[in-house]
């Protein structure tokens, strides 16, 4: 699947008219924010923990090379293997090589955004290995061949009727007349279909919310149990992780975990938080015989030392998009790739280029709500503004817009001319619009006046009225 971020405006237009999507987005708005707020209200230390989480991650980033080396050493000490991949292609090849060596036919997958980022599923399929998504949301979008629309809830954009439709189309062996009216039935059907896949899988592949340097461990944070069945039953466990997931100790992980689940779903803790270290031990009676950590760089090292470094603190909780008023109207697919919402607006241009993703950092009102809920205190609007600065410097914004801005700036720097121009505008617009108090339509303002009136100016500028008042008071 190719990114469609360049068609953000068209994507958004479609999204605004999509009744199912709008219904689904309303459900999101009444869910996530309230739950987060409730769980935070119970933890007075939340804000102090944010400062600590930020400090831990900033420290890691300043020492990322040492932490990566330490992590690798500890993985190997426990019998695991680390693979270093600069690009998506290297990561895909590393995963496929393990699959081939083990003769793997199917790979069950826990939810991993990195696998989406490198388009792993398409690649495995093209090379004769069948990937099976097991997280319910990921499974649903896999059978629909869509991108995730949210980094925590991949199928958030769907209503249950759409899920039922996809299940009927895909689960062929079942009674076509069966009822699939409600969520419990849908979940039960997915559970029984996927159960067999867990048991039959040759390899299990998960992501990692954290890579713990102290112990050479990786952590996943889930609720369904699919990640655990994925990584326990098959003969090999592959962890796909980007390099900035490093965290120093289990204690540091605990600090950030206190922020993660509350910010993501409003839970005190997820149902399953699992720490994996190496393959099964000699005297274990279950567990994979091989443990691989496939590290992906793909632009992370290039963000270090730049104005985008703070973005590497992101723990993929989704709070920003849960609270974004733009995301709430257009949903995740409008953003056109793997990472939507405010964090996607910052990250996507680094990964797919500003040419492709230029709209994303522009489609924000800078309301600042994302930054206010970010558990890692990432200044998201500021980084979107940095993208806009780069676009402006490279003359990527539309010409009409740049000329308009230059025109405005010309006047803003020349007070006398500015007074004249604004005064003229006030008089003209005031006299045309004055009788009705507003414009129903106005040349050059079609975008505004299509859906709303433009209130008319009062007819004189404040500055001219003030000057007149001053003259009257002290002639």
């Amino acid at each position: 699947m190719q990114p469609t971020s360049h068609s953000f405006k068209e994507n958004a237009r479609q999204a605004l008219g999509d009744a199912n999507l709008q219904k689904a987005l309303k459900l999101m708005q009444s869910g996530f924010p309230a739950r987060r707020a409730a769980s935070i209200a119970r933890l007075p230390e939340f804000d102090a923990l944010r400062d600590q989480g930020k400090a831990i991650k900033d420290h890691v980033l300043e020492n990322l090379d040492v932490y990566l080396e330490t992590f690798e050493k500890n993985v190997v000490a426990q019998g695991g293997e680390v693979h270093w991949c600069r690009t998506p292609q290297e990561a895909r090849e590393a995963v496929l090589a393990i699959c081939r060596r083990l003769g793997a036919k199917t790979v069950t997958k826990g939810k991993t955004m990195i696998a989406e980022e490198i388009a792993l599923n398409d690649y495995l399929e093209a090379n004769g290995v069948t990937p099976v998504e097991t997280d319910l949301g990921e499974y649903i979008i896999q059978i629909r061949r869509e991108y995730p629309s949210h980094i925590i809830a991949p199928a958030l954009h769907l209503v249950k009727e759409q899920v039922a439709e996809s299940f009927r189309a895909t689960h062929k062996g079942l009674d076509a007349k069966r009822a699939l009216e409600d969520a419990p039935t849908l979940v039960a059907e997915a559970r029984s279909i996927l159960r067999q896949k867990f048991l039959a899988a040759d390899i299990g592949l998960t992501g990692a919310n954290f890579c713990v340097a102290e112990t050479g461990s990786t952590l996943i944070v889930t609720n369904e149990g699919n990640g655990d069945l994925t990584q326990t039953l098959p003969k090999a466990h592959i962890v796909l992780a980007s390099i900035e997931k490093l965290t120093p100790t289990l204690e540091d992980v605990s600090t950030i975990l206190r922020l993660l689940t509350r910010s993501a779903t409003g839970q005190e803790f997820s149902a399953y938080t699992t720490v994996s270290t190496g393959p099964r031990r000699a005297d274990d009676t279950d567990g994979p015989q091989e443990y691989h950590v496939v590290f992906l760089d793909n632009g992370r090292s290039a963000m270090l030392g730049t104005e985008f470094q703070d973005m590497l603190r992101c723990i993929r909780c989704g709070a920003c998009m849960n609270h974004c008023p733009v995301y709430a109207t257009v949903g995740g697919h409008a953003y056109g790739w793997v990472y939507p919402g405010p964090m996607g607006a910052v990250l996507t241009p680094t990964l797919v280029g500003i040419d492709e993703a230029g709209h994303l950092p522009n489609a924000s009102t800078f309301c600042g709500r994302c930054e206010s809920v970010c558990p890692m205190k990432i200044p998201l609007p500021q980084m979107m503004r940095h993208w806009r600065e780069r676009e402006f410097a490279q003359k990527r914004s539309p010409a009409a817009y740049r000329y308009g801005l230059a025109f405005w700036a010309f006047f803003a720097r020349r007070p006398a001319l500015y007074r004249l121009a604004i005064g003229l505008a006030a008089r003209i617009l005031g006299s045309i619009g004055g009788p009705r108090g507003r414009f129903r339509s106005l040349p050059l303002a079609g975008g505004w006046t299509q859906g709303r009136d433009l209130p008319a100016p009062e007819g004189r500028t404040f500055m001219s009225l003030w000057a007149a008042r001053r003259k009257r008071i002290s002639p």
Binding site: K9, A12, R13, L16, P325, V326, T329, N362, A363, S364, T365, F366, C367, G368, R369, E371, S372, R385, R388, E389, R390, F392, A393, S397, Y401, L405, A406, W408, A409, F411, A412, R413, P415, Y418, I422, A426, P435, R436, G437, R438, R440, G446, G447, W448, Q450, G451, R452, D453, L454, P455, A456, P457, E458, R460, T461, F462, M463, L465, W466, A467
Partner: protein
């Protein structure tokens, strides 16, 4: 009341200047009633947000330098807009990180600059406005910059509650962006329109007859949507109600009553 009057420079903002001088005069009245000596530097134009938020740092810096110059010497600079006050307080210093001299001036201006309602409540420590009446059910929209950059939330509500006859009813989603966003409503008008439609629905559901806020951009946006929907709701800048200037000037987007 202070012995030597506080010298306040009023930063009018381009939207107030062009669209609604009444807001500027309401601000002046509130400040003078509170004992301030108000001046309006003639060389002011814009705070530079349009350039800044479009990534045009060089024009933003030039405009900021002019503003810093124009407002030198005042005890306080007061702005009837959360976004413009936020621009000056939070972002002017950030513009000059590699120009120490200008940065120092920007930080000095930043310390002296306040949004209007915040100035009255937090600096002058007023918890009521002088004898004012407003018969109406008011709901209040928290404009984003004022809320998140400047912490303006309780202050307008506290002052509004001191207005005789005024009943305040909370707006569900008061803190949700109205979709104006300066350049955003021009670049992404369809999304902006949907956001303000959602906001209008929330406003209508409160049963209020009056909508107030502290930022004219938001108010123009919301008023424009409400009048297009045929709403009778009166939309004003909060300064107008606090200054008791609602009798003679029609609400935003409205016309003067006949007869």
């Amino acid at each position: 009341m202070p012995d030597t009057p506080i010298r306040v420079g009023l930063f009018v903002t381009c939207l107030v200047d062009l669209f609604r001088p009444t807001v500027g005069f309401a601000a002046v009245k509130l400040l003078e009633d509170a004992g301030c000596l108000v001046e309006v530097p003639a060389r002011q134009t814009c705070c530079g947000q349009p350039a800044y938020n479009s990534g045009d740092k060089s024009d933003a810096k030039a405009i900021a330098r002019d503003a810093i110059e124009a407002f030198a010497g005042f005890d306080h600079v007061v702005v009837p807009s959360g976004s413009c006050a936020g621009m000056i307080r939070r972002h002017f210093p950030l513009l000059f990180t590699d120009e120490p001299e200008t940065r120092a001036k920007a930080e000095d201006l930043s310390r002296r600059t306040h949004e209007l309602v915040s100035f009255l409540a937090d600096v002058l420590k007023l918890d009521r406005v002088p004898e004012t009446r407003y018969a109406g059910i008011v709901t209040y929209h928290d404009a984003c910059s004022g809320l998140r950059e400047l912490g303006i939330k309780a202050q307008p509500r506290r002052l509004l509650q001191s207005v005789d006859g005024l009943r305040l009813t909370e707006l569900p989603g008061a803190e949700t962006c109205c979709g104006f966003g300066g350049t955003f409503c021009i670049k992404y008008p369809a999304i902006s329109d949907r956001m303000v439609a959602d906001k209008a629905a929330d406003i209508a559901a409160t049963g209020a007859d009056t909508l107030l806020a502290g930022d004219l951009g938001c108010l123009l946006n919301m008023a424009g949507k409400l009048t297009r929907l045929g709403s009778e709701l009166r939309v004003r800048h909060v300064a107008e109600v606090l200054a008791g200037m609602t009798e003679t000037v029609p609400p935003i987007g409205g016309v003067a009553a006949q007869g």
